[in-house]
Every structure is written in structure tokens, then in C-alpha cells.
Amino acid sequence: MQTYRGILVTGSTLVLAGVLAAAAFLPTRAIAQETATTSSSGRSEQWIHVRVESKEDHGETVRVNVPVEMAAKVIPAINKNNLHDGKVHIDSMHTNDVDIPAILDAVRSSRDGEYVTVQGNDNNVRVAKSAGYLYIHVTDRSEGKKAAASDGKPGAKARAGHESKVEIKVPMKVVDALFSAGKDELDIVAALKALSAHGDMELVTVKDDQNTVRVWVDSKNVAD
């Protein structure tokens, strides 16, 4: 009888030891999870979402979701090619005597309005500033014309649906942050930080007859 009692005591003590040991080791993880939950629900954390959808039958769908804060911390750790310390060095910022930072500075300090409107046979381009946002809309019909020409209809109008539309909407504060690093550099991290201060918004939409690309920011951790 005493033997059974000994085994019972031993077993109970083992279970207790296991529970105590688990309690000693597991809190770190539990706290970490709790913190993460709080951070994701307590303050509205912004996420960058990218979705690429092919319009072909059984086409490819790509979905990428990245927390803005995470991107802002990881990018400075990548030092490769033109990317260093969260900044991208661009050699061609003054190509053909066009000073892009100077132009952006002029746009920034100007009133709202349409700055560029090009309506051509192949392309329509519109660059505007409104309510603190920079809008760039491009419609490219050149591929449609090429396709129509390949059908043996020179001079024909672009095939219906054979055009690509690019719509970009960026807060001016993000543009400012992007060019804050000085000449020939884009400050990606500063731009991400400025972006995270904004609410939900659609950044880029590209639509053509083959693919749809969307880049947007919101506080959900999953794509729509």
C-alpha cells in the first residue's frame, strides 16, 4: 500500500514540477503574444497591402501584407546595391537637366491644381495636387495600337480593353519625407513613417487587360 502511495506522491509531484516549470518558462511568450495583440488592436497599426490579380482563367493571384512599422525597421538593415540605411541613391535624379527635387519643391509650395495634362494618341497623363495629395494618372494605349496594327489594321484605333491605366495617389507629406534626404536620395523609411501617420488609403492602382495591381494602406492585417 505504501508503495502505491509513494508512486502516487511521485506522480503528483512530477506533474506539479512540470506545471511549475512550464509556468516559469512560458510567461515570456504569453506576454509577447498579449503585447502583440494589444499593439495590433489598441493603436491602429497600418499595413501595406499589395494585390496582383491576373485576369486570365485560373490566373495568378499574389497577396502581400506587411506592417508599415515592420517595413520601416527592416529596410534600414538592408544594405545592398543602391539601398543604404533606408535610403535609395538614384544617379539619374537630374537626367536631361530635369531637376526632379526642384520640380517637386515647386509643386509642394504651389496651390492645388492640375500641373500636367497631356492628351495624346497613345497616352494621357495628368499630374495634379489636391487637398494635400499628389495625383498621377496615366493611361497608356500604345499596346492596344500595336495589337490593332498586328491585326493588319494600320492606323486603327486601339483595341477596346487594350489600354493600361495607372493611378497613383500619394499624400504630399509622404512625398516631402521621400525627398527629405537631400539630393539624389529617396528616404524610404521617412516616407513609410509619414505614410503610417495617414489613415486608410489607396496608393497605386494599375489596370490593364492582363493584370490588376493594387497597393493600399489600411489597419487590417489581411487583404480584402
Binding site: 505504501q2 509513494g6 509577447a32 482563367d57 515592420m70 525597421k73 538593415a77 545592398k80 492585417n221
Partner: protein, 146 residues
């Protein structure tokens, strides 16, 4: 008989503590199934602690060679791992087409990679984010100049 019980208690408690320690960082899980003739099937679970401990026993010249190759990516790996720990449940990447499906996500604090090909090949890898950071830290420690 009492002495035997005490010895059993001591051994049992030690084993319980050791078990809890070994598994406190979680488990690395790898499942690989090739659904074709002669295809391989690999399934194993490995305590995450074993990776950190195992790295101490890797021959120094081989570790140096590895660190040389991965050195440029170590700071990024460490930052990614550190950040991933803050997001225990999220979907990072999902690529689907008619044949294949690849998903990279954080599931309960583990980085989980699932790949299913149209041929029926299936790969599931699950690694606690903490392990990635430990590996990055360990390699950085052995890679001066990072």
C-alpha cells in the same frame, strides 16, 4: 521502497524540467511529401532549442564559411525575426495560381511556409520566429564586422 520513490521523484522532476526547457522555444516542424512514384516523404519535429545548442557544435571552419556567405543578410534577418515576434498571427505572402499555392504566414508565433504544387508535392515548414533571431544572433556573434 521510500528511497526508490525519492530517486524516481528526482529523476522524474529532472526529466520534466529538462523536457520543459528543451521545448520552451517551441518546435521546428518539417513535412515534405512528393506524391509521385519514388517520391520522398520526410516528416520530422525538432525542438527549437536544439538548433541554438547544435550551432555550438558546428565545426568552426564550416560556420565561418557560412557566416561569410550570409553576412550581408544577417542584420535584416535579425530585424525581420525580431519584428515577426510582434505579430504572432498574420499572413505575409500568398501566391495562388491554377496549379500551385504558396503561403508564408505567422501562425501562433511561428513562421509557417506552406507550398502545394499541382503535381501533388507538399511542403510545410514551421519555425518559431525566436529561432530565426537566435540563429541570426549566433551567426553575427561568429561573424565579426557585421
Amino acid at each position: 521502497m521510500l528511497i526508490l520513490a525519492k530517486v524516481a521523484l528526482g529523476l522524474g522532476a529532472t526529466m520534466a524540467m529538462a523536457g520543459v526547457y528543451v521545448f520552451h522555444e517551441g518546435v521546428i516542424r518539417v513535412d515534405l511529401d512528393e506524391h509521385r512514384e519514388g517520391g520522398g516523404h520526410v516528416h520530422f519535429w525538432l525542438p527549437a532549442t536544439a538548433v541554438a545548442v547544435g550551432m555550438h557544435f558546428v565545426p568552426k571552419d564550416q560556420l565561418n564559411h557560412t557566416t561569410e556567405q550570409v553576412r550581408p543578410f544577417l542584420p535584416a534577418l535579425r530585424e525581420v525575426a525580431k519584428e515577426l515576434e510582434k505579430y504572432p498571427n498574420m499572413e505575409l505572402v500568398d501566391v495562388t495560381d491554377a496549379r500551385d499555392h504558396v503561403r508564408v504566414a505567422m501562425v501562433e508565433g511561428k513562421l509557417r511556409i506552406d507550398a502545394v504544387s499541382g503535381d501533388g508535392d507538399v511542403v510545410h515548414v514551421s519555425v518559431p520566429a525566436r529561432v530565426l533571431r537566435d540563429v541570426a544572433d549566433e551567426l553575427e556573434e561568429k561573424a565579426p564586422g557585421v
